[in-house]
């Protein structure tokens, strides 16, 4: 059963990076990586976070774990602000939150044996005796479907899918409640991707995990998510239950994204909506709605005012002046 209380919550979160200026000079410009995001993930659910490269989705994931410091706003885990924690409290909290990366090879130390990699978190957090840790590592390797002798081998001896299993075992080692999976299956072949998606779903059910699933592949996100958030240039433009987002998308960007996904059915070759132009740079995002320069429906108000993310019927939230969530009045009344 899903608990309705949020396990992870961010409020009006901002992350800006200075550009240029050097160490002591004044920054000449700012990269607006995350711009005023408020989002809650309920205990036990999978929230899919979708967007194109540079939209800020990975930054948002890292902010949620306080692997990055926000410029403004708050991150709360289980009701406590992560920003108010002392370094020592934060370290203790880290056992509850883990991350799985896209490139399992780049994120595994090539000189360590797999048992050492998987058990590193246990050793850092001084969990149990050495013997208990060894038993826990063996248990974890089995849990993620690796052969028992895997612990004695090195990462390069494994295929991409197996390396992702190692990354998952490492993340699970300290018994987290919340996992950020950042493009965790994007680099894998489709047959192996299916294995890892199944594994993540099984583990989530068995261990009651809460997942933030960051991906650019809309088909994969639809498969794994309970709710989905769509991000564009640092902001959430639409968020809601999976069926709502995929069957009844409101925001023109969401609709364009969905129409761009090639459907594996040769009888359904569709007329696509294409955008024209590239994703604008987050260095100087357009004023008003950041999507308006590429939007076919933009009104005058879209150029002036940033539309707030407003929640309508069925928990479906949209940030759009022209197509607000159902049950929310339009900008011009």
């Amino acid at each position: 059963m899903m608990n309705l209380a949020p396990l992870v919550e961010v409020r009006d979160l901002h992350k800006r990076y200075p550009l240029g200026g050097g160490l002591f000079g004044r920054a000449r410009a700012w990269v607006h990586a995350v711009e005023g995001v408020s989002l809650a993930i309920r205990a036990g659910e999978t929230l899919g976070l979708v967007g194109e490269s540079g939209c800020g989705k990975s930054t948002l994931g890292r902010l949620m774990l306080r692997l990055l410091e926000p410029t403004a706003g708050d991150v709360r885990f289980d009701g406590r602000s992560l920003l108010a924690l002392s370094p020592r409290e934060l370290r203790a909290m880290r056992r509850q939150m883990q991350i799985i990366f896209q490139d399992p090879y780049g994120s595994l130390n090539p000189r360590m044996r797999v048992a050492g990699i998987v058990g590193e978190g246990l050793a850092i957090h001084r969990v149990g005796t050495r013997r208990e840790r060894r038993a826990r590592v063996a248990e974890l390797l089995e849990l993620v479907g690796l052969p028992p002798d895997a612990g004695k081998r090195y990462p390069h001896e494994f295929s991409g899918g197996q390396r992702q299993r190692i990354g998952i075992a490492r993340a699970l080692a300290v018994g987290p409640r919340f996992i950020v999976a950042d493009e965790a299956v994007s680099a894998l072949d489709v047959s192996i991707q299916a294995q890892i998606l199944n594994l993540l779903q099984d583990l989530q059910r068995r261990l009651g995990l809460t997942l933030l699933f960051i991906a650019h592949d809309l088909r994969v996100v639809e498969h794994v998510s309970d709710r989905v958030a769509i991000m564009y240039l640092g902001r959430i433009v639409e968020c809601g239950p999976r069926e709502e987002i995929y069957r009844n998308p409101r925001h023109p960007y969401t609709r364009t994204l969905l129409s761009a996904v090639p459907v594996p059915d040769p009888r359904r070759r569709k007329q696509r909506m294409t955008l024209g132009g590239d994703v604008p740079s987050p260095v100087s995002p357009p004023p008003g709605c950041a999507f308006h320069p590429r939007c076919g429906h933009a009104l005058e108000v879209c150029r002036r005012e940033t539309p707030p993310l407003e929640t309508g019927r069925g928990g479906h939230a949209v940030a759009c002046h022209v197509f607000p969530a159902e049950g929310v009045s339009t900008a011009d009344g």
Partner: protein, 331 residues
């Protein structure tokens, strides 16, 4: 039934015809048969989707067609006939003329194929001047025309830009401009949109389709994305461990797949609008290691239908239904 690709009508000779192509890499650890007896045929204006997982030999097949196999790889057998002429028998000097005007290729990562210290206009102009006797100025204005044709806004200004000034999608458009600059008969596109965002991918695929219709090129579209194949291809060849295991029209592949690998591949893919929480049917095991392949059918150790005989013989690619070939003794 004859072995090989679906049989074409005898009247029309296919534009591109590949027979029993073999490319090997002799490594210290053993011999890798990256391309292991591939046969294909492609008509003018058609799109062949070449599909498979990493390491299955898709790219090596393409590089073999171009005769650009990197050492220690070597083409050791077969033929590649373009309009009847066997490219594998041409002297290298003549082959150089074929690359560009006969066959052209675009790659997944456009940045690595563009020279960072030259403007994109000069790189397109250079490609034109390699193949045609035209002056500098004419080549430059043709380059600007091509940038316009591939949908780059303000082509005169963009021609003077360096590659790093362009986004990934724009760079891929420049690569396409270079590839079509000499009006090739066959365009080989190797994962042309894999590195791009989905909205940009859609635009590049639309562009490839427009260009194909305008110039009547045939396209070999190499991809691992079955969605892209369903949308773009007329026919599909599925590769596994260096061999083509199934070849049919795009409708037959998606609606009547015959080979157990094709069937499993289709089932392992999450579909848009599909039922959630239904588990995906993953293919057990790992993507094959070409140095340690099982005897007989290379897929048998992951195949639910495998029997003892699958270990004993190499299944030939043979026509199982009209225009539908598969390499499986269980079909």
């Amino acid at each position: 039934m004859t072995a090989g690709a679906p049989v074409e009508p005898a009247a029309a000779r296919p534009l591109l015809e590949v027979g029993d192509l073999r490319t090997v890499f002799a490594l210290e650890e053993g011999v890798v048969r990256a391309v292991d007896g591939v046969s294909l045929a492609l008509e003018r204006g058609r799109v062949l989707g070449l599909v498979g997982e990493s390491g299955c030999g898709k790219t090596m097949t393409a590089l073999s067609l171009m005769r650009l196999v990197p050492p220690p790889g070597r083409i050791v057998g077969g033929h590649v006939r373009l309009e009847g002429c066997d490219l594998l028998r041409l002297p290298e000097r003549e082959m150089r003329a074929v690359r560009g005007a006969g066959l052209a290729m675009i790659f997944q990562e456009p940045m690595t194929s563009l020279n960072p210290v030259f403007t994109v206009g000069s790189q397109i102009a250079e490609a034109i001047r390699l193949h045609r006797r035209v002056g500098r100025r004419a080549a430059w204005s043709r380059a600007v025309e091509l940038l316009d044709e591939v949908g780059i806004p303000e082509p005169e200004r963009r021609a003077r830009d360096y590659p790093h000034r362009l986004s990934g999608g724009m760079r891929q458009r420049v690569m396409i401009a270079i590839a079509i600059s000499c009006e090739p008969r066959v365009l080989i596109a190797d994962e042309p949109t894999t590195a791009l965002d989905v909205t940009i991918q859609a635009e590049i695929l639309d562009l490839l389709r427009t260009l194909r219709e305008r110039h009547g090129m045939a396209v070999v579209l190499i991809t691992h994305d079955l969605g892209v194949v369903a949308e773009q291809a007329d026919e599909v060849a599925i590769m596994y461990a260096g061999r083509i295991v199934e070849h049919a029209s795009v409708l037959d592949i998606f609606e009547r797949p015959l080979h157990p690998y094709t069937q499993a591949l289709l089932r392992s893919m999450p579909g848009l609008g599909g039922e959630r929480r239904s588990r995906l049917e993953a293919i057990p095991g790992q993507v094959p290691d070409l140095l340690h392949l099982p005897s007989g059918c290379h897929f048998r150790d992951r195949c639910p239908k495998a029997i003892d005989r699958c270990a004993a013989e190499d299944p030939p690619l043979e026509e199982k239904a009209r225009g539908h070939a598969a390499a499986c003794i269980r079909v």
